[in-house]
Structures are given as structure tokens and as C-alpha cells.
């Protein structure tokens, strides 16, 4: 009676310890990401250059003041320390380019990106996996070539052109994101499926007359599944990347548009916060995928 209880308890502590470790690792990586991005921005040329320096109506004193306005950000460690101090108290700093608190900018704009990139990603997955699965199931050369060409075509069209096309056709922005992300998912999942279907025991199962759904559920997914889940994790960051041109062209006020503006004006407070958030999302998506793979593996054994 005592034995199983004890083991359940140790089990709990074991899991708790792992979760804590994982969270600590995530927190450390997020902080590191912020610091590294601040360093990258600081090292890049044009860090304290301002368009207004070319304005001939500004007096020498104003030009000087302009240049000194970012003096507090020259020492990157000091900047980062004061940023963290502020962040603990809920103050994420003020954007240079837009003159607004970063917090309110993020609050306004995250939902837009979350919706556009989220729906886009979902569509891309539905499209890609349907196409990839059909290609494996049918195994018609013509369909194969069709799939390769279509996905190849969307890979070759510049993202800005796809976004522009969506404006021309009055299509919603998430469709453009879906079309940008879809070929990548298709290529990966097509290959993973093909590999799984080529396994000898699946050929054997086919010969035995097992239904295709059963083959998929019992044999293909267990092989390709973990990698597909891992793929799902990384497509989140791919979709976030695709959001930049799409939001800028479709006039969607989201994080992607904000990131581009921030990069062009070397808006350090905003960029650091954006990197921290993107790192967090990436880590959560990928760690989530890892955990799922881990649980699947345990469930099987």
C-alpha cells in the first residue's frame, strides 16, 4: 500500500523537477535572446542615426540633442539591465519611432498577428498535408509532378508578390501567409510520408489488404508523427517571418509590420521586446512539440 503511493509521489516530484528545469531553461534563453538582439542592433551601423539629421532646418544644437537622445543606449549591458529592471515593474520602455509605450503597442498588435499567422498556418497545414497524403496514396507520377510544381511555384514567387496578389484579388492576408508557408510544409511532410510509406512492413500490410486508413493510423503516423510534430513547432516561426511582408503590404497593423518599422529606425526598446516575445513563442511552440513527441513515445512503450 505504501510502495505505490511513494512511487507516485516520487514520480510527481520527478515531473515537477523536469517542468521547473524546462521553465528555467526557457526563461534563461528568452533573456539571452533579448540581450543578443540588443547587441546585434547596437553593433549594426546607423544605430544612432536619425532621418532628421538630414533636415536642414534643424539647428546645430537640435542635431546634437538628437544624437545624444540615444546616449543611454550606447552601453548595451547598462541598457539591458535598466530594461530588465523596468520589465519587472511592468514597464517595457518607450518606442523611439512611434513615441508610444512598447506595452500598449504590443497589446494592440499581437492579436492581429496571432489571428493572421494562426489562420494562415492552419490553412497551410491543411493544404500541405492533404496534398502530401494524397500524393503518397495515389502514387501517380502526374500527381507527383503536379505537387512538386505547385509547391515549387509558390516557393519561387517572392513573398511580397504573393502579398500584393492577395491585395489585388481582395483576398484576406492570412491566405497570403498560408501560400507562403504551405510549400515548405508540403516539401517536408511529403518526404516524411514517402519515407514512411516506403517501409517494408507497410508494403507488407498493403499486400495483406489492410485499409488505407488503418495503414495511415497504425503504421505511417507512428513513424512520421514525431517529425511532423517537430515540423509543426518550427512552422510557427516560419509563419511569423511570413507575417512581415504580408502585414506591411496588406496594411495589417500587426507585429510583423511593427518589427519592420522598428528595424528600419533602429528602435532598440521595441526590437528587444519583439525578440523576447518571438523567442518566447518559438520556444513554447518547439518545447510543446518536444513534450508531445515525448508523451507519444512513452504512450507507445
Amino acid at each position: 500500500m505504501l510502495q505505490p503511493l511513494l512511487s507516485a509521489k516520487t514520480q510527481f516530484w520527478k515531473i515537477a523537477k523536469r517542468v521547473t528545469q524546462k521553465l528555467a531553461a526557457i526563461a534563461a534563453l528568452v533573456l539571452l535572446g533579448g540581450l543578443l538582439s540588443a547587441t546585434l542592433v547596437r553593433m549594426a551601423p546607423g544605430f544612432d542615426a536619425d532621418e532628421r539629421e538630414l533636415d536642414p532646418s534643424l539647428s546645430a544644437e537640435s542635431q546634437l540633442a538628437l544624437r545624444q537622445s540615444r546616449a543611454g543606449e550606447h552601453d548595451i549591458l547598462r541598457f539591458y539591465a535598466s530594461y530588465l529592471r523596468g520589465a519587472i515593474h511592468g514597464d517595457l520602455g518607450t518606442s523611439h519611432a512611434l513615441g508610444q509605450p512598447v506595452q500598449s503597442l504590443l497589446r494592440e498588435r499581437w492579436p492581429v498577428t496571432l489571428r493572421v499567422a494562426g489562420i494562415g498556418l492552419l490553412l497551410a497545414w491543411i493544404l500541405a498535408s492533404t496534398l502530401a497524403f494524397t500524393a503518397c496514396l495515389w502514387r501517380l507520377p502526374a500527381f507527383e509532378i503536379f505537387g512538386t510544381t505547385v509547391s515549387g511555384a509558390f516557393l519561387c514567387i517572392p513573398a511580397a508578390v504573393l502579398a500584393l496578389l492577395s491585395v489585388i484579388l481582395n483576398a484576406p492576408g492570412y491566405l497570403a501567409i498560408a501560400l507562403i508557408v504551405f510549400p515548405k510544409i508540403y516539401r517536408y511532410s511529403r518526404n516524411l510520408f514517402a519515407k514512411a510509406y516506403a517501409m517494408p512492413h507497410i508494403t507488407a500490410a498493403r499486400a495483406r489488404g489492410l485499409s488505407e486508413t488503418r495503414i495511415l493510423a497504425c503504421h505511417v503516423l507512428p513513424i512520421a508523427g514525431p517529425q511532423m510534430i517537430a515540423l509543426a513547432g518550427i512552422t510557427v516561426s516560419i509563419a511569423l517571418g511570413a507575417a512581415i511582408p504580408v502585414e506591411a503590404l496588406c496594411g495589417l497593423p500587426g507585429i510583423g509590420q511593427l518589427a519592420w518599422q522598428a528595424a528600419l529606425s533602429r528602435d532598440l526598446p521595441l526590437l528587444v521586446n519583439l525578440t523576447v516575445m518571438v523567442t518566447l513563442v518559438t520556444l513554447l511552440a518547439n518545447s510543446g512539440a518536444d513534450v508531445m513527441v515525448y508523451m507519444l513515445a512513452r504512450g507507445e512503450s
Binding site: 543578443l36 519561387c156 508578390v161 517536408y188 518559438t282
Partner: protein, 268 residues
Amino acid sequence: MNRARKLACVVVLVVCAMSLAANWLAPAGYAKQFREAPDAPPSHQHLLGTDEVGRDRFARVLYGTRISLLLAPAAALVSTVLAALVGGLAGYLGGFWLRLARGFTDLFLSLPWLFLLITVRALLPLNVSPLTSVLITFLILGLLGWAASARVLSTSADALRNSDFILQARASGLHGPRLFLIHVLPNLKPVLYAQFWISIPVFILSEANLGILGLGVAEPMPSWGSLLRELEGLISFREEPWRLVPLLLLIVVMTSFQLLLSNEEVTA
């Protein structure tokens, strides 16, 4: 499939031959500005018309093919090898190394690398030769493009590490690099193939986008990327359909290459 492959073979050979024979096919060269005929539609003299400053688009496509078709696959190879090394090794070693590599790739995926590129441009001299600039650009693309697939690979390799046949191979005395090369790496092929084929067009396009930072192919040299960028300003494709030719060519060449070089097991 066989007939398709033959066709693909012909396409690739023709494109390669034409780009090599660019000097004869387009004797005017890629930089000559026919100023009396800017933005011209296709004609006998200019098969694909001319660009905004009157340069022959056909010549630009041919010369651009040379650069992009050579360098983009090379960069894709670099990124694929890196992905295999980081992702494959991490998954194969497992434990601490796996966690470290995953943390590293996740971080790598989220950092604003744009600023690194801007810094690289600042470190290069302004009068850098176009070829050096292109080489460096593609090298950087190769060095930056590996993270996403490394992440997927680490999962594949992790699963492999505990699979029966690796355990068997271990039991039969195979260890270290040999085990990795003979048994692990071949099993990562699906992801590696995908990484390679996705990277080529992505790098071709990225090279053109880096033009805004002063990296990549410098004027007046053409590249497929800069030819594709022409599409960005085009609202109506119906008015000037010949502008789509570089895009179509790239798609056809990419598809042909894929059909040609892929083996039976991994087709796409």
C-alpha cells in the same frame, strides 16, 4: 516517371547550355542600355523585351542563370550540411547535447539576423567586386539557413537513437562516426532533401532582398533574384505577361532538377 525525367533532363541541359552560351546568344551583354527602347515589349531584337533602363531582359536572364544556378545550390548545400551536423548529431548524442542544441536552434530562429547582415555590409569595403559580394552573400545565407530543419532533424535522430536497428548495430560493434554516417544520416534523408530543395529558391529570393542592404549581386550584374524583384511593382500581369518569364523559368528549372536528382525513395 521516366518520360518526365527525360524531359527534365532536356530542360536542364538546354538551360545550362544556353546560359553558358550567353556570350553568343546575347552578344550585347547584360549591362548595355538600349536607351531608345526602355521598357520595351518583346521583339525580334529583344526576345523578352527590355527592363526599365533598356537592358535586354533575355541577356539578363541568361547571365543571371549562371550566378544563381551555381551559387544558390552551393549555399543550400552548406545549410543542409550544417543542419545535418547540428540536428543529426544532437539527436544522435541525446541528453545534454540534445537539450543544448535545441536551445541554441530555438534562439537562432528568433534573433534579428538582419542586423548582422547590415554589419557585414559595413565591414566590407564599398568598392567590393560584385563577385566577392555575391559569394559572401550566399555564404551568409547558407550559414544562417539551417536552424529550422536542424530542429526537425534532432527529433528524427532522437527517435532513431533508441530504435531497434541502431541498438542492433551498436551491439554488433559499430560506434561513433561510422555508426552516425552509415545508419543515422541516411535515415535523415527526407528532411535533408526537403531542406536542400526549399533552400535554393528561398536563397535566390533572399539574395535579391539583400540588395536593399547593399549586399548580393551589385548592379549592373543580373541575378534571378533581381529579375524576380521586378515582379513586385507589377500590378497587372496581363498587360506585360513577358515579365513573368523569369519566374516561369525558375519554376521549370527547379522542378526539372528535382525530378532529375531525386531517387525513388524520396521523390519530392
